[in-house]
């Protein structure tokens, strides 16, 4: 179970805001409020799609949840473990995958996966068993001895998935995992997400591809201007657009943009 309540994060602004430019509702007194009171939850076996335009705050939200960044306020827990109080314990529960494959090019596929297994404190026999299991599942055996800089995008994607779940995480967080992938490589990922869902693992992923949301997501959270502007089931979200998820997305973004502009003025 993933629970996020009123999560907020701000960064100091390196440059002074341009006064002639349209004011951003997130800017205040030298700070940029990247995430503002974002809340959502994702139950076991559920897939939650995190949607929003570029720069909305999706990646920052996922980084907060994955403990890469520390929130300024709010709380979040992974299977009851508070990410602020027990970040190390929370990390052991999370399998994280970003848009980049995050692999070391000079290491082989097996070495990459084993490295992260060791960092998660896995003992050698347990790690070997888990690697063999994952390599069977994802059909990695044929290229497990090859350096990852020699692999195709699809192979890298498989290896990246194995790396993310080698420690048998209880939740999975994916940051725009299919961005820039060809159809076959994207399919590898979507199949993995579907199998995680079947295994009852809560899964959150950010995306711009609404067809992926329709295909996989039980719940949707839309973020715009750093704040969550919709949090509910996919069916309820679709309903807002008269049955069309694309219209629902455009509608909620336009509405919140207008509201934000009024607030900024």
């Amino acid at each position: 179970m993933i629970e996020v309540k009123n999560l907020s994060k701000r960064f100091p602004q390196a440059n002074k805001p341009d006064k002639s430019a349209r004011r951003d509702v997130r800017e205040s007194e030298g700070w940029f409020n990247a995430v503002r009171n974002v809340s959502f939850h994702c139950a076991p076996g559920e897939v939650l799609g995190l949607l929003g335009p570029n720069g909305a705050g999706k990646t920052t939200t996922l980084r907060l949840l994955a403990t890469a960044l520390t929130p300024d306020s709010g709380t979040a827990s992974i299977n009851g473990i508070d990410i602020i109080d027990q970040p190390m314990l929370a990390r052991r529960q999370i399998g994280f995958l970003s848009g980049t494959t995050g692999l070391y090019g000079r290491l082989t596929a097996r070495e990459n996966v084993e490295y992260f297994g060791r960092l998660h404190g896995m003992a050698a026999p347990q790690l070997k068993r888990r690697c063999d299991e994952l390599f069977d599942q994802l059909q990695i055996h044929d290229f497990s001895h090859k350096r990852t800089d020699e692999l195709s995008t699809g192979m890298k994607q498989k290896c990246s998935i194995a790396r993310a779940v080698v420690h048998e995480p209880r939740v999975i967080i994916l940051d725009e995992p299919t961005t820039g992938l060809d159809v076959m490589a994207a399919k590898v990922l979507l199949d993995f997400m579907a199998s995680s869902k079947r295994a009852g693992i809560p899964l959150i992923f950010s995306t711009h591809h609404l067809h992926e949301v329709e295909k996989l997501c039980d719940r949707v959270c839309v973020i715009n201007g750093g704040a969550s502007v919709f949090d509910g089931t996919t069916a309820a979200f679709r309903q807002q657009g008269g049955g069309d998820i694309f219209d629902a997305f455009v509608d909620v973004i336009n509405r919140t943009n207008q509201s934000n502009e009024r607030s900024a003025a």
């Binding site: 960064f11 100091p12 980084r63 994955a66 403990t67 890469a68 960044l69 520390t70 190390m88 314990l89 990390r91 052991r92 999370i94 994280f96 970003s98 848009g99 980049t100 494959t101 995050g102 692999l103 070391y104 090019g105 000079r106 290491l107 070495e111 490295y115 992260f116 060791r118 960092l119 998660h120 404190g121 350096r147 790396r163 993310a164």
Partner: protein, 398 residues
């Protein structure tokens, strides 16, 4: 920490081309180039000294003794040239190296106890100094004979004669032994080789360990592993520390081998000093390299994690070479000797200590103080580096 260390070392050792070009070639090529240059310069000088000087002499009848003097001198050979020949052309086309012009009444002037001029024509741009010095030595021999003859007319005893020629004789009694004299020279050069190799060898891996992780998109994943940030930093620091230290120690070995085989060809005194350097001296130099490698590793890692990309990291690290040159150059400035003040100046103190070790005059109290203060600096820099690894604005500058 060791999981990170072993993974980074494995990754580094797989990049063979870079290893060869950035670490191994400098380690083995730099001493060979340095001493090869010294050897070539020394050989060229010896050849120029031994080379036969072909000369033409005009007006030999005006001073037969001078003409005879050069005719007798080994290494000089007279070339008969007609008076009408242009001297500059003859020197230019290599027929002669020098020409002497003895003016009329040369001997008459000398015999009347007056100073006479001997005109020397030579090309000062063509290794001129060696030719001028060799001719000067012959003329000085003649001058000395004339001086003694002139003074002998005053019927002076040999001690009186010595007094007239040089009333005060400077009797030099250097307290420095051979090792101190030659050691000051090699000891001054040693930090150049060692500190630069230590820095350069760690630079490329440093870029890979911080900025490289950001550029490859692996840093975020690594930061999410359940490993304490200090362990992560220590693992990466240890890679740079061991690479820098290993490179510098290899350089010591490489220099030792080159000196062992080539020192005798350059200078006999140098070879004698090299043979007096023992394992103890090398161990002391090695100990000095420990905090040096730690200082470089901390600074390079901090810079690398701050940089967004390879390009930015490279740009940031280039000025570091200049920052390293200055303290080492300072140690070479005459008058800068190892005292308590200089022992507190980072890097300069290490360069000065290396010089003292090679000279065999190291003060062990100062040695321990330098070792301690440099280790404290390295620890502070490592703490600063650890701090940067914990700052979100550094890790996620995008």
């Amino acid at each position: 920490m060791w999981i990170v260390y072993l993974k980074e070392m494995r990754s580094l050792l797989r990049d063979r081309k870079t290893l060869i070009f950035t670490i191994l070639i400098p380690i083995f090529a730099m001493p060979l180039i340095g001493f090869g240059f010294a050897y070539v310069a020394q050989s060229m000088n010896a050849r120029a000294q031994a080379q036969e000087i072909k000369y033409a002499i005009f007006g030999a009848h005006n001073a037969p003794a001078v003409a005879a003097l050069f005719a007798r001198e080994s290494g000089f050979r007279t070339v008969p040239l007609d008076k009408s020949v242009n001297i500059k052309d003859a020197i230019g086309d290599g027929r002669i190296k020098v020409a002497f012009n003895l003016p009329e009444r040369f001997d008459e002037v000398i015999n009347s106890s007056q100073q006479a001029g001997l005109e020397l024509h030579f090309n000062s741009a063509d290794a001129g100094d060696i030719v001028r010095k060799r001719v000067g030595a012959v003329v000085e021999k003649y001058n000395s004979a004339l001086r003694q003859k002139a003074l002998a007319d005053f019927k002076l005893t040999p001690p009186q004669l010595a007094f007239v020629l040089n009333p005060v004789r400077l009797d030099e009694r250097s307290t420095a032994n051979q090792r101190e004299r030659i050691g000051a020279l090699i000891g001054g050069m040693l930090p150049y080789f060692l500190l630069f190799v230590c820095l350069l060898a760690a630079t490329y891996p440093a870029i890979d360990l911080g900025a490289g992780e950001k550029e490859a998109g692996t840093l975020e994943t690594l930061l999410l592993a359940p490993i304490a940030r200090s362990e992560l930093v220590m693992g990466k620091f240890m890679v740079l520390f061991s690479v820098g230290l290993a490179a510098a120690l290899l350089m010591v070995t490489s220099l030792g081998v080159v000196l062992r085989f080539f020192a005798a060809r350059i200078d006999a005194d140098l070879a004698a000093v090299v043979s007096t350097l023992g394992l103890g001296d090398l161990a002391l130099v090695g100990l000095m390299l420990v905090p040096t490698a730690a200082i470089f590793a901390s600074v390079l890692l901090a810079m690398s994690i701050y940089a967004k990309s390879y390009k930015e990291a490279t740009g940031m690290m280039q000025p570091l070479v200049m920052v390293t040159i200055l303290p080492v150059v300072l140690a070479m400035v005459p008058g800068v000797e190892l005292n308590w003040l200089w022992a507190s100046v980072p890097l300069t103190n290490i360069a000065l200590a290396m010089k003292e070790i090679v000279k065999g005059t190291m003060d062990y109290q100062k040695f321990l103080m330098i070792l301690f203060s440099s280790s404290v600096i390295a620890a502070l820099l490592l703490a600063w580096c650890r701090n940067w690894f914990g700052r979100e604005q550094v890790l996620f500058r995008d």
